[in-house]
């Protein structure tokens, strides 16, 4: 473990309310360097670094930035800090502990793509993060880092903090635009994509908080450093949200592509509860379950595709063999039923029907035909839903049934103790 954390380096070491502390700990050096480099070079750097979005969809940030940098003004940059994926807590910790870093990263994004207005959209249930980021924004206005003619470099940038109101769907980028525009959070049809038609119908860069924060060390330390971390197809530092039955759960900063084994046994101190690993949920409720056979797979976007799993927002939720897996699945099904926005039929209807069947599964009362219906509903939601919510609403449930030895006759998961 020789890796030196960069994204979490200042956490707990500086006063999150102090601009002086931030500056003394290297703050705003990346912005100064970015201004030296100029917009074109930053966009190029991002493209070459092949920084993949950390919010879930793993889209190359450089492609978005380039498209928007070449589009006509007015345009916008947005930090997606809605962080509502169950098991995800990285953005909250970053915003609470190092809020000026997010402001600095937004400034670099705006400078690079030529946006003069930005928004930080923070999950409403994060009052501490909202207060600290708002304080950082206010302080930066007073210090001349926000507003007109920043650093005397002739560029202008206004930054506003917006609060979510408790809907998971408002983290979906186009629903988030609707929400900022004051409308109900329904996802839009894509295409057109945000880089062409985003907030207020204008070209928009929207990135996850962690994606944006990766830009700071990239600008400061350069391409070679960035590429030296993690696998070639999916490089850079990564935050893993390690939770569940491990002795030391918490936020782990490690190179992209760290193995599950390293995370659970080195960082997490091993499996708690029964002490025996049952399975791991990767990517949160929208993710996929994997089994102990997958302990040595590389936890990066490309590596996980080889085992039909996803990294998503970096959730690594560990379950020991004593866990009531049926109750876990019931909770996941209820979550999607509750959070579906109701716009498209497959998800509006499918999350309800899925929940009904999973309730029966959990109660040991599956009827004949239920499993086939569950699979067909899952396939239909994945194939025909408008947005990622419906497309991923069945993945965890079906992967558990396929990978944990579900016995249709006894209604038990063979991999888990069934004494409950």
């Amino acid at each position: 473990m020789t890796y030196q954390p960069v994204l979490t380096a200042r956490l707990g070491k500086i006063d999150p309310a102090s601009l002086q502390d931030y500056e003394a700990a290297g703050g705003f050096q990346a912005l100064a360097r970015a201004v030296e480099l100029g917009p074109k070079a930053i966009v190029e750097l991002l493209r070459e670094a092949y920084l993949l979005g950390r919010g879930g969809a793993a889209f190359p940030a450089g492609i978005k930035w380039k498209a928007v940098s070449e589009a006509p003004a007015p345009k916008y940059v947005i930090a997606n800090a809605d962080e509502s994926e169950p098991g995800t807590f990285k953005d909250r910790i970053l915003m609470e502990g190092d809020p000026f870093a997010l402001v600095e990263a937004m400034l670099i994004a705006a400078f690079a793509v030529g946006a003069e207005q930005g928004y930080i959209y923070i999950r409403g249930e994060y009052p501490q993060a909202i207060a600290r980021v708002q304080h950082a924004v206010n302080t930066c206005y007073n210090a001349g880092y926000l507003g007109r003619n920043i650093l005397g470099a002739g560029f202008h940038f206004d930054l506003e903090v917006r609060k979510g109101a408790g809907a998971y769907i408002c983290g979906e980028e186009t629903a988030l635009f609707e929400s900022i525009e004051g409308k109900r959070g329904f996802p839009r049809l894509k295409p057109p994509f945000p880089t062409e038609c985003g907030l207020f119908g204008r070209p928009t860069v929207i990135n996850n908080v962690e994606t944006l924060l990766c830009v700071l060390p990239l600008v400061l330390r350069g391409l070679d450093w960035f590429k030296s971390i993690g696998p070639e197809k999916s490089p850079g530092p990564k935050l893993y949200c390690l939770s569940g039955r491990v002795h030391r759960p918490g936020l782990v900063e490690a190179p992209m592509g760290t193995t599950l084994r390293t995370l659970i046994y080195d960082y997490g101190g091993g499996v708690s509860g029964s002490g025996e690993l049952g399975g791991v949920l990767l990517g949160g409720a929208a993710g996929v379950f994997v089994t102990p056979e997958h302990l040595d797979v590389s936890l990066d976007f490309a590596g996980l595709r080889t085992i039909d799993a996803v990294l998503g927002s970096g959730v690594v939720m560990v379950f020991d063999t004593s866990v009531d897996m049926k109750a876990v699945l019931r909770r996941i099904a209820r979550f999607f039923r509750h959070e579906s926005c109701g716009k498209c039929y497959p998800c509006q209807l499918g999350t309800q029907r899925q929940h009904e069947i999973v309730e029966r599964l959990a109660a040991g009362r599956l009827r004949s035909g239920d499993l086939l219906a569950l699979r067909e509903i899952g396939q239909t939601m994945r194939d025909a839903s408008i947005c990622g919510l419906g497309q991923t609403a069945s993945g965890a449930i079906l992967s558990a049934i396929d990978r944990f030895g579900f016995d249709e006759h006894t209604g038990r998961f063979l991999r888990f103790d069934s004494n409950w």
Binding site: R184, L189, S340, P346, L349, Q352, E356, I377, A384
Partner: protein
């Protein structure tokens, strides 16, 4: 040959190929919510909605294969298990055509029930047990025709419903009683008052 900028649906129509639609209406903004029109576009991760996706040269598109038919059938099954489709003949036809079995989810599967028919004005009634959430009424009430914005949404997910602001009775909203919503409703959820009374068996005199 399809004209440039045409949707898959338009291109298919001009080639004499039928793709089923439910929410789509020729004269309204397509919100692509029902997903009945989905087709398989080779190379695309998901199916794509033919009513909005633009056709491209050399695209390989399957409008009626197994994957497409399964999605359509399951959507129809789930819809019929949820909503009263007794006055929606086109949907009945589709259900039969796709061999859809709405009973597969059991007799205890939740239905969307909204209580009594809303009779709160002299012009039309609203029977939301028959509403399939096709969005057409919302669309005509908004930018597509009337710009009155009297109709919107309540609830979410399975519990989504078409509603006025704070569920106020129609006369207390911005509604101007143009009747456009009644005209585009495909399921009998919105109905003229005379038609409603007649359907209830009341003897109705000539207009």
């Amino acid at each position: 040959m399809a004209s440039p900028g045409a949707t898959i649906l338009e291109a298919a129509r001009s080639a004499g190929i039928t793709i089923p639609t439910v929410c789509y209406h020729d004269h309204l903004t397509a919100n692509a919510v029902c997903r009945i029109c989905v087709v398989e576009w080779m190379g695309s991760r998901t199916l794509v909605p033919a009513c909005v996706a633009k056709i491209q040269p050399n695209a390989r598109i399957y409008t009626d294969n197994e994957r497409v038919r399964t999605a359509r059938r399951v959507i129809l099954e789930m819809l019929a298990a949820t909503v009263d489709l007794s006055e929606a003949p086109e949907l009945q036809t589709l259900l039969a055509e796709y061999g859809a079995d709405p009973h597969r989810f059991g007799s205890d599967a939740a239905r969307r029930e909204h209580g009594p028919v809303k009779v709160d004005n002299p012009f039309y009634v609203r029977d939301y047990d028959k509403c399939i959430l096709c969005w057409r009424c919302v669309q005509v009430c908004a930018e597509d025709v009337q710009f009155t914005f009297a109709l919107g949404f309540n609830g979410r997910g399975f519990e989504t419903s078409i509603a006025t602001f704070f569920d106020r009775p129609m006369p207390e909203t911005t509604c101007v009683f143009c009747g456009n919503c009644v005209g585009v409703c495909p399921t009998g959820a919105l109905k003229g008052k005379r038609e409603y009374l007649a359907a209830q068996g009341a003897p109705i005199g000539p207009r």
